[in-house]
Symmetry: C2
Subunit: 105 residues, 2 copies
């Protein structure tokens, strides 16, 4: 299990529309092979900067499976127009987790 | 509740020592006022890049309370020597969470 970490800068004034598009795209992630769901976080320092976190069973489930699927096109249709720049995408693996997860829900 | 997101690049060959230092620092976060625990993730693309995620009740609990505490000095003593560059720190707030959290534990 890995995390896709996509840092997205949206165009000024487009935050609300981006969030709505993300919300509408949730079923696309839900039905993607190997996907453990998606979450959206917004920067406190710069309200135009967002972090999309998606759980994937494997790296390939994201970069091969999802990115070559029709749903990837639908995802971009829902949110791509609000991007101010191409997203920066990284993938991470949890090494140590000592967070109080129940507080995050 | 907010997330501190600290992106840390470590010096080549120092990943193991950094992870050990992070593990030893967990009690410092555990006892910090307003802290909801810390986790450590490692980049798949670049194994020298780490993401430290810390839950804080408020931004002030981190940038005023923790950073001015003696435990902040202890944290830096445990991990600072392994940093290849000053960490990039951002803070985020969850907007939408549709992740299957039980899979993350």
């Amino acid at each position: 299990m890995i995390h896709e970490m996509a840092s997205i800068l949206v165009k000024p004034g487009m935050g609300g529309q981006f969030e709505q598009g993300f919300f509408e795209a949730l079923p696309l992630f839900k039905q993607a092979k190997g996907c453990h769901g998606a979450s959206l976080e917004r920067s406190v320092e710069d309200p135009l900067r967002y972090l999309v976190i998606v759980g994937w069973e494997t790296l390939e489930d994201h970069v091969v499976g999802f990115r070559n699927s029709e749903d990837y096109g639908r995802w971009r249709d829902l949110v791509g127009a609000f991007f101010a720049a191409p997203p920066f995408v990284d993938h991470t693996k949890v090494v140590i987790d000592d967070r109080v997860t129940e507080e995050f829900q």
